[in-house]
Amino acid sequence: MLDIKNLHKTFNIGTPIENHVLKGVSLRLAPGDYVTLIGGNGAGKSTLLNSVAGTFFPDEGSITIDGIDVTSLPEHKRAAYLGRVFQDPMMGTATTMSIDENLALAYRRSKRRTLRWGVTNKERARYRELLANLELGLEHRMSDKLGLLSGGQRQALTLLMATLTQPKVLLLDEHTAALDPKTAPKVLEIGDRLIAQHNLTTMMVTHNMKNAIQHGNRLIMMSGGRIVLDIAGEEKKRLTVEDLIAKFSQASGEEFAGDQALLG
């Protein structure tokens, strides 16, 4: 479903702050794969997701979504294939617009926008149903502006928006990191439910090792701009947090040794 080949990205090329962030990332996701992605700060996780989303273009390598090469497709054209939820609850929605208007924006992600009404009553009925499924009471607040919602409600709504048109790939970048410990599991659960319901191919970045193990069918670890660990199937099911921490330091240690060897 998603095929990333030898992706390289360097920020601020040719300046003193030049930063080679992605150093040849290759990754292939089968349809329905739900991958959790972990790694230290600055490992390049967000950069990888943003490359897939088209926030910027990679310097080298290619990205294919369901057989379509999107490597040089602008962000807004790629959006038709993607659903995204960001870390910051402010990022994923238009805060000055109402709940139904936000959903309507998401619903038209892959369509031409015309002079027809932005939200129809038929749509509203459907949105009300979908919102009721979230069990957050949002179905009674459809004309409320997004700015009035809590962070958790916003992330839940952003998830619903991201999955409304059944994207080929769903990208979640630490989407529960800004939420309190009671809300975060709820939003994760809503995500799991929507992903299962539509059998979505998903990449979820998290800093929570437990979440990384409990969710999804595959776990990937990044370090220094490379994928250093890729665990799936039975092996992932048996994984413990201790295992993962051991593998984490081992992987970054190897990474470090590798760099040393290069320098030498």
Partner: protein, 300 residues
Amino acid sequence: MLALFQGSVSLGLLWAVMTIGVFLTFRILSTPDLSVEGTIILGAATAARIISEGGDPFFATFLAILAGCLGGLVTGVLHTKFKIPAILAGILTMIGSYSIVIRILGASNVSLLRLTTVFTFLQDMGLSNRNAVIVFGLVVVAASGALLYCFLGTELGSAVRATGSNRNMARAQGINTDTTTILCLMISNGLVALTGALVAQNQGFASVDMGMGTIVIGLASLIIAEVLFPVRNVWSRLITLAAGAVLYRLIIAVVLELGMAPTDLRLFTAITVALALTLPLIRDKFSKMGSHGKGGSKDA
């Protein structure tokens, strides 16, 4: 007194159209656009030249709107495609417009006295000069407000609002934010040029320097509307914008009546806008000081 009131209302209604345009960029798109200083005279000049050549005033006004849209297009392309900051892109369009306006006018000033304007047919129906402008102004403001309101409710209009609200989100929802930005700037400057065309026909001439301070007048009207009428939905906001533009004219008329030199007007407006813009900040400070005092006593 009545004359002063009528004069302010008629002028205010014409400038209300521009205020709606300024609202569209500053508030809906969250992009400050200074090209209005140029597009207002672009509109005035286009209409004045065509009318002075004996052209139909309605056709002339229509072309004036197109000229304004063109100005907005230039600013939009400079800003989105060439990544020039919005303020600078607007200034470039504004500066460029001055030369174009002089070419359109063929002089720095064209008179429309005793020529047929869009107001003439109302005057022929027996309305006084002022009342003709008020009636026509009301119709134009209502029509442009209603059209704009409908537009903002469409798929395309929603995309424009989303762009102003959150560009990243808009792109993630498949919206080409370059296109929506350009579109919004075109509509806004079309409205501004419409005001220019109507004001020129009302005052009986078009000149290069009539655009100076337009943006501050627009902002002043906008801020009067926002401070006096804290409404939430777009429909009421559009109505209050017209009220803001009229009130601005009334305030100006009164201070002139009280003896302020006309040349001091711009300074007066600039200071008023500056004060109004800092008002929320001052209010915040005071309310913080208030709550701080209470919190302090608790801590102690």
